[in-house]
């Protein structure tokens, strides 16, 4: 199917990826190839199959409403770039 550079840039925005115009153009080509390939599924008559995948193994899995505390908070926040007291500190976010 045909997609435009605009489509690709819109998708990049949704996915929070920044791509250059050249990259977008390259992707148009790649996508069209892949999506054309995907069209093979259009030919199939799949009817109105209602798909309920997960219940194939499991059914509903529920956890009892009980508390369990993750004690080692220092370890938990080891990968945060910066903390203030026990808050995670990040560059200012404007709402």
């Amino acid at each position: 199917m045909k997609i435009s550079v605009e489509d690709v840039r819109y998708i990049a925005k949704l996915a929070k990826l920044s791509i250059t115009f050249e990259q977008a153009q390259k992707m148009v080509g790649e996508f069209e190839g892949i999506l054309t390939h995907f069209e093979s599924i259009d030919r199939l008559d799949l009817g109105d199959l209602r798909v309920e995948l997960q219940d194939l193994n499991t059914g509903t899995v529920l956890r009892k409403d009980e508390i369990s505390v993750f004690k080692d908070k220092e370890k938990l926040f080891l990968n945060a770039k910066s903390m203030r007291d026990s808050y995670i500190r990040v560059p200012k976010i404007i709402e």
Binding site: E52, Q54, D55, T60, V69, R89, K92, E95
Partner: protein, 481 residues
């Protein structure tokens, strides 16, 4: 041209579970920032959700209380978007198939009933909290709230005025409180409400462009925001500029006293919903529904009716008492011990509410056990102390936690109800006020009131008023001295 206001509400209530929706972190309020977190609710790579049974039960309970159809098979979905308070960059919610559909809440009166329909109720997780510091180039994030279980309740656009919207929300809040589903505290954010409002010509049955309102943090603000927006839209219609009403989100600015457009967020709001692959379907058995239905506590409407039948109180009084679950339970603890319903109601509606307000406490925190108040009421009834003195005693009981008996003894507040003793005092007062005697004899009934005052003064308020009046009248009739 007569216009009709059309309002729909979207309410989020935090569920009263012990743990979060998908992990076992405590779901409590007020903990140290990030104290209630773990790899799962932080959305660390590799973690997976496991659904909290308690949350499912409360959601079903809410559905039953609100007259919904319970979907025996529903599903969790992912709602994808980027925001710093959303650790996984998606919220796990229910989009396609919610756990409850089609309910209603009846408000209004018996003569003018109003049924407000509900579209759906679904389960979802809450996001964390962002804190912006004024003069600073940093923001702070606390993920304690991330993963807290919420139910979202959506109404049909059946509400027709700001006042009605508030009445509905109050009724809903009361029902959720009685059902022990949520503690519904708007000031703490455990009950949140957004509104959709539009206007249309009276009689029209299609809907016009609606505006979404956010940031209303109390019943009052909800009412003001709706009224203000209603006014704004009406103004535009009257000027023929209704095309300027666009589908947008506006926030209530209480300082400005009006709704303002929200700074436009990312216009790309394509949430790309798809079924949550890490969770199975949510299956509710008929047995579970039956069990929950059978364990439902008494609802406000039923309690009001019961109060009306049993206690003979006025509607307005019942509304106030039943409107507060803990208060109504306290009241019934009194009547169960034999307190006269009328007397009990007077105490609750009078001194109790006054003291609670003064001390900034809630009915659930009343420091006087019902047994003790019951005793106090009996002491007053038996004439051992006056009502006025009793109110003072109650205030002391509130502050110190001591029993009525102890306080009365210590402060010597016992009422003088002994005929002989009172008689002597009254004689003394009459002796001291000969002028009043002659005034009374001369027909000035006002003098009796004055004399009563003097008797009270002499007894420091402890004279049993009915008895004192009786004795005074006897003596006055006799014409003394």
């Amino acid at each position: 041209m007569s216009f009709e206001t059309v309002i729909g509400l979207e309410i989020h209530a935090e569920l009263n579970t012990k743990s979060k929706l998908f992990c076992s972190c405590p779901a409590e309020f007020g903990a140290k920032p990030n104290g209630n977190t773990c790899p799962v609710c932080l959305g660390l790579p590799g973690t997976l959700p496991v659904l909290n049974e308690g949350a499912v039960v409360l959601a079903v309970k809410a559905g039953l209380i609100l007259n919904c159809e319970i979907m025996t098979r529903s599903r969790m979905d992912r709602k994808n978007y980027f925001y710093p308070d959303l650790p996984k960059a998606y919220q796990t919610t229910q989009y396609d198939i919610p756990i409850c559909r089609n309910g209603y809440v009846d408000i209004g009166t018996e003569e003018l009933p109003r049924r407000i329909r509900l579209t759906r109720i679904h389960l979802e997780e809450d996001a964390g909290k962002l804190i912006h510091l004024e003069e600073s180039d940093v923001s702070l994030i606390d993920y304690n709230r991330a993963g807290i279980p919420l139910i979202e309740i959506v109404t049909e656009p059946d509400l027709r005025s700001a006042e009605e919207a508030v009445a509905f929300l109050k009724a809903l809040k009361s029902m959720l409180e009685y059902g022990e589903i949520s503690d519904c505290r708007m000031e703490r954010g455990s009950l949140r409400c957004d509104a959709n409002i539009s206007l249309r010509k009276a009689g029209q049955n299609t809907l016009n462009t609606r505006v979404e309102l956010k940031n209303m943090n109390s019943f009052k603000e909800l009412q003001k925001a709706l009224e203000s927006e209603e006014e704004r839209q009406r103004e535009l219609y009257s000027l023929g500029e209704e095309s300027r009403i666009v589908q947008e989100t506006r926030r209530w600015d209480s300082a400005k006293g009006k709704t303002v457009p929200m700074r436009s967020k990312e216009d790309a709001h394509d949430y790309r919903y798809f079924p949550e692959p890490d969770l199975g379907p949510v299956i509710i058995s008929d047995a579970m529904i039956r069990e929950i239905r059978e364990s439902l506590p008494e609802m406000p409407a039923d309690r009001k009716k019961r109060f009306r039948d049993l206690y003979g109180l006025k509607d307005k009084e019942i509304d106030i008492i039943v409107g507060d679950k803990a208060l109504s339970e306290y009241y019934e603890a009194l009547t169960a011990r034999g307190t006269d319903p009328r007397a009990g109601a007077n105490w609750i509606l009078g001194s109790m509410l006054k003291l609670l307000k003064e001390k900034g406490l809630e009915a659930g925190q009343i420091p006087v056990p019902p047994e003790e108040l019951h005793k106090l009421i009996r002491i007053i009834k038996e004439g051992k102390i006056s009502l006025t003195a009793g109110q003072e005693v109650f205030s002391q009981m509130f502050d110190t936690g001591r029993s009525a008996g102890d306080i009365i003894k210590e402060k010597g507040l016992s009422q003088i109800s002994d005929r002989m003793e009172l008689g002597r005092i009254i004689t003394g007062v009459l002796d001291d006020n000969p002028q009043s005697l002659s005034d009374y004899a001369a027909g000035k009934t006002q003098a009796a009131v004055f004399l009563m005052g003097q008797i009270m003064k002499a007894t420091k308020g402890r004279a049993n008023p009915q008895l004192a009046r009786e004795i005074l009248e006897e003596k006055l009739k006799k014409g003394l001295p």
